[in-house]
C-alpha cells in the first residue's frame, strides 16, 4: 500500500540544511563583514595606528620589545612572546582621547549601518 513510500519521507534531513543552521551569522559577524566590505575597518585601523604613533605608544611598545629581546637573546624571541609582552601594557596605556575617538567612529558606523 502507500505505507512503503511514506518511509522515504522520514529520512533525516540532508546535511546541507544542517550546516546552514549551525553557521547562521551572529550580529557581530554581520557587522564585521560590513566593516570590511565597506573599507571602514581598514580606515579605522589606519586612524588608530596613526594616533598611536603620534602619542608615542608605538615607541613605548617597541622599547618593551627591545628590552625583552635583550634579555632573552635575539634569536630566541618569537612573535608570540612579543605579543604577550606588549598586550597587557598596550591595552592599558591607550590614551583616553584616542580610545574615545575610535569608539565614536565605530558607533557612527553602527548607526549608519542601520542595525
Amino acid at each position: 500500500m502507500a505505507k512503503m513510500t511514506r518511509s522515504s519521507i522520514n529520512r533525516p534531513p540532508t546535511p546541507d540544511a544542517e550546516e546552514d543552521r549551525d553557521q547562521e551569522p551572529t550580529l557581530q559577524e554581520i557587522i564585521n563583514i560590513k566593516l570590511i566590505e565597506s573599507g571602514e575597518k581598514e580606515r579605522l585601523k589606519e586612524l588608530l595606528r596613526e594616533r598611536l604613533i603620534e602619542c608615542g605608544w608605538r615607541d613605548e611598545m617597541k622599547a618593551l620589545c627591545r628590552a625583552f629581546t635583550r634579555k632573552k637573546g635575539r634569536n630566541n624571541v618569537t612573535v608570540d612572546d612579543l605579543v604577550h609582552v606588549i598586550t597587557p601594557k598596550g591595552r592599558a596605556s591607550i590614551p583616553d582621547s584616542v580610545k574615545a575617538e575610535l569608539l565614536q567612529r565605530i558607533r557612527s558606523f553602527l548607526a549608519s549601518a542601520a542595525l
Binding site: R66, R74, T87, L110, L115
Partner: protein, 178 residues
C-alpha cells in the same frame, strides 16, 4: 519603543568596544611582528650597545659640564679633532714694534698694555711729552693707541731696544700717546 533603543545602545557600546579591541589586537600583532623581524634580522645595531652608549654619553656630558675642564685653557694635553695638541700659551716669539723687545705671542697683549700706555710707567713717560697731544688722543682705551701704527715706520727706526722710553723721543708733540 525606547526599550529596544536602549538595548540597541548598550549592545552598540558592547559591539563598539569589541571592535575597538579587535583593531587594537591587530595593531599589537603588527608591532610585535615588526619588532620580531628587527630582532631576528639583527637590524637593531645598538641592541646590546644601548646601555653601553647611555653610559658613555652620560660620562661625556659629565665631562663637558665639569668646570675644571674648560677646554682650551686646561692642560697642554687636550687633543683637538685633528689629533693635535696645542700649548695653553701661544709660544711664537717676535719683536715688539714699540719697544723692540722679544715677546712671546701669548704674552703680547699684556706687554703692549704696559709698553704702550695702560701701565703706570708708560703713562708717566707720556705725560712728560706734550700734554696737548695726550689730551687730543687719550680715550683711556688701548685701542686708540693702535692708530699711530699706520705711520709707525719712523718709530720703528728709533725704537732700538730702549724699554718704554719711546715717548720721550717725541717730545715735540708728534707722538700721540694717551
Amino acid at each position: 519603543m525606547s526599550a529596544p533603543n536602549e538595548d540597541n545602545m548598550s549592545s552598540h557600546a558592547q559591539l563598539s568596544s569589541h571592535f575597538f579591541g579587535d583593531l587594537l589586537d591587530s595593531i599589537i600583532v603588527d608591532v610585535a611582528s615588526e619588532c620580531h623581524r628587527i630582532a631576528r634580522l639583527g637590524l637593531d645595531r645598538n641592541l646590546e650597545e644601548e646601555e653601553e652608549e647611555l653610559r658613555l654619553s652620560a660620562q661625556a656630558r659629565a665631562r663637558v659640564a665639569d668646570p675644571s675642564n674648560s677646554g682650551e685653557a686646561s692642560s697642554k694635553y687636550v687633543v683637538d679633532i685633528f689629533g693635535q695638541t696645542h700649548p695653553s700659551v701661544a709660544n711664537e716669539i717676535f719683536e715688539c714694534m714699540n719697544c723692540g723687545r722679544s715677546i712671546m705671542a701669548g704674552r703680547f697683549a699684556p706687554h703692549l698694555e704696559k709698553c704702550m700706555g695702560k701701565g703706570r710707567k708708560a703713562r708717566l713717560k707720556a705725560t712728560r711729552s706734550s700734554t696737548a697731544a695726550q689730551n687730543r688722543y687719550s680715550r683711556g682705551s688701548p685701542v686708540s693707541t693702535y692708530s699711530p701704527y699706520s705711520n709707525s715706520t719712523s718709530m720703528n727706526r728709533l725704537s732700538n731696544g730702549t724699554p718704554g722710553v719711546a715717548g720721550e723721543e717725541y717730545s715735540n708733540g708728534t707722538f700721540e700717546e694717551p
